[in-house]
């Protein structure tokens, strides 16, 4: 599984960088995240409830940051364990670039693979599930950071 994308976030780079290292923000942005714990500067552990097609499970997620270049980029090593549901492993490269008017352009690319039941039953669905998780993550991040988002949302209660 491979995918990439970019998002324009309307706050300055340093803020985005801080959020991407903040377990509280991360927990808020990962849908289904039930807990997020910072084990060290560069290590997080989370439990996430997720569903890929017919496979539904609580996954233990270990996140390790490497190649850290504040406030520009890091590489995120992701290890997902779902016991009977299988496992996932991936690398996400995240890069932040300053964009116009104090906004930030976030680029990411993910390469990963799954195993066990996730691959057996969910293989066809894993790409779309991963894309959805990424989209949800960034729109949540966007919301969490954008002072305008709150107002927008209350104006558009959908």
């Amino acid at each position: 599984m491979e995918q990439s994308g970019e998002h324009l976030i309307p706050v300055e780079r340093a803020t985005v960088w801080r959020s991407l290292n903040d377990p509280v923000v991360l927990a808020r942005c990962i849908s289904g995240c039930q807990s997020m714990e910072q084990l060290a500067d560069d290590r997080f552990a989370a439990t996430v409830k997720a569903r890929v097609g017919p496979v539904r499970a609580t996954f233990e997620v270990a996140l390790t940051l490497t190649d850290i270049h504040p406030p520009e980029s890091y590489v995120l090593q992701v290890e997902v364990k779902g016991k009977a549901a299988g496992f996932g492993k991936g690398l996400a490269e995240v890069a932040l670039a300053e964009a116009e008017d104090g906004t930030t352009l976030l680029r990411y690319s993910v390469a990963g693979r799954v195993g066990g039941k996730l691959a057996q039953i969910g293989a066809r669905l894993i790409d779309s599930a991963a894309r959805k998780m990424a989209d949800d993550f960034f729109s949540a991040l966007h919301e969490a950071l954008d002072p305008a988002a709150d107002r927008q949302q209350s104006a558009n209660p959908s």
Binding site: G53, K83, A84, G86, F87, R113, V114, G115, G116, K117, A119, Q120, I121, A123, R124
Partner: protein, 779 residues
Amino acid sequence: MSTETGIGAAVKRREDLRFITGRGNYTDDLNVPGQTCGVFLRSPYARAKIGAIDATDALQVEGALAVFTGRDTATDGLGDLPCGWLVKSKDGSDMAAAPHPPLAVSQVNYVGEPYGLVVAESLAAAREAAELVAADFEELTPVVATAEAAEASPIHEGLKDNLAYDWELGDEAATDSALATAAHVTRLDLTNNRLIPNAMEPRAALATFDPASGNYELRTTSQNPHLERLVLSAFVRIAPEHKLRVVAPDVGGGFGSKIFVYAEETVVTWAAAKVGRPIKWTAERSEAFLADAHGRDHVTHAELGLDGAGRFTALKARTTANLGAYLSTFGSAVPTYLYGTLLAGQYKTPNIHVQTHGVYTNTAPVDAYRGAGRPEATFVVERIVEAAARETGRDPVELRRLNMIEPDDFPYETPVALVYDTGNYQASLDKALHLADYAGFKQRRAASETRGKRRGIGFSCYIEACGLAPSQLAIQLGAGVGLYESGEVRVNPTGSVTVFTGSHSHGQGHETTFAQVVSDKLGVPFDDVEVVHGDTGRVEFGLGTYGSRSLAVGGSALISASEKIIAKGTRIAAHMMQTEPTNVAFEEGAFISGNQRLTLQEVAFASYVPADYPPDLEPGLSEKAFYDPENFTYPAGAHIAEVEVDEATGVVQLVNFVAVDDFGHIINPMIVDGQVHGGLAQGAGQALLEHGIYDANGQLTTGSYMDYCMPRADDVPDFVVDTTVTPCTHNPLGVKGCGEAGAIGSPAAIINAVTDALGTEDIAMPATPEQVWRKLSGL
């Protein structure tokens, strides 16, 4: 004997009543007091070292009773699961067999390999507990692709490479020189796709242990319960045979996949004694996909030489067969003795050489699946013959006819170790051509074209070898068991008959067919004959049902036993009629001498109530027989497929299928037709739909009915099936076996039709719309 129920009659099956009313007894339908539930822990990795396994949390779950791992079974001295056929490499060395513990101990070698068993009061509790077992794995690089496995680094510690054996058959030098001087050589690279058997009833086991007697009882989905018991006793060493009863109750299809002795029933039986309670395990379909033995998975390069007149001069095949991670029960024999020996097909090819590399990969073990080796051989022969006809501008039918073994060539000895006893290949081909209206094909093709469809026709003249035999030869070639069958015919005091057979029925209808055979032979009413099978506690011994052997071998044993009944009955009757046995004839259920007549019933009664009885005879009228066939039987036939390919979508529709088979004499034509239909649908599945795919990491990506495409009702047409008859020359019934023919002949016929429609030889199975569409689009 009444022709309505005797040999040759389309008797309605007696087993049907329980199935159509929901009163079958499949393993999962059975329940015993105190029963617990088992769930297996399965590797999510294709290849990994097993680290610590922590069951602390799992055992906290309410209702959880025990968690066992490979270390427990190893400590208890449980033996490995054996491979029953020792194949030797061409240099004379034994195959390299990797140890196959029932539960993985230090390393897992395919996704789905069991490494532990969780036992709990309920299925829900067992599943919950299984979720909580924490196992550490250290992932290793897997070897997956068939073609590359031999060169890759060995997956098993202690083996020097992934080559289990390098086997050959035939004269290589003669074949090579014939190819070198051939007027034309056709070359073809072929893949025989991996299939997942998918009997509709998933495997299951229900094991009990009685501490008072020390007796084990295992009810399981098996095609051969006696073999199961033998292996669990002699190799896995769970309990001696007299302490272990194995029952295969109603079994919902097997197609080979339930021949083998698997880890699950082994471990569950062992664990029943550990837990002190009965344990039931039933596979989910997802587990069946991962852990049932798969079928086929060959990669072959073949060359066929022809002389100027179109006569075949030589056939050479180089095959790599994926055996999976371990050698399954008969896995080693399938791509060798059941494959290479069939490469002569129906033809007089004088020189044949085959070489098979059996390779280990980090995938589920591969073993016999309906046809086992013979579909692979037929695919090679019939694809390359069709391609040769096209390359040399000959009609594929005429090229076949030119090369076919003639009816008076029999017995015919092939260059690959078989002696065909009888056959008439021209007759089945002629009949098939007529039924398929070959003459009208051109018109049908033109009509299809006007609808934007390309029509193709394909042929397959297959041969198969059934009822592996004789035992002595098979054992010389490495078989670990004999290949006879046993039967017992017991005439009860009041004249009804109970028949015990070592064959097993899981859809084939033995309860009906075998009763027909015995009722016909003994002249007792069909309804008075009961057939007992599938229970080591009731049937003395048996080698089970596979390789279309039941009737040819098991049925013949019943004939022998019946003959002994008649012989003994004759002596009793002679005594009663005060004459010599030589003066007594047995006709239609009665012993006759002059105008005296005694029915079998009367004689049976006299044998159990021996008032007036020959002094030198034992009372009773029950006889056993072991029948060891002297040769294989050789069913053969002609299959013709017609397909329509939609140019816009690449969808291949199988529009006509004609199968004319020679099964020798037929006991029940209704059942035989049904066997052919089922085989044809499986063959159509292989050709057009089914494919077991592992990704590069060894993950099975076709692990459910969402991705593994099973043939459904609207994927296949009505089949036209018919038969021709040349009776088998060496068994008393003249029968040959019909269970696998459909799956053996059809894939080649269908792919020959698809390649005909598309005008290219380069189509792999399954011919999916995507593949065909790419070909049509020149991509």
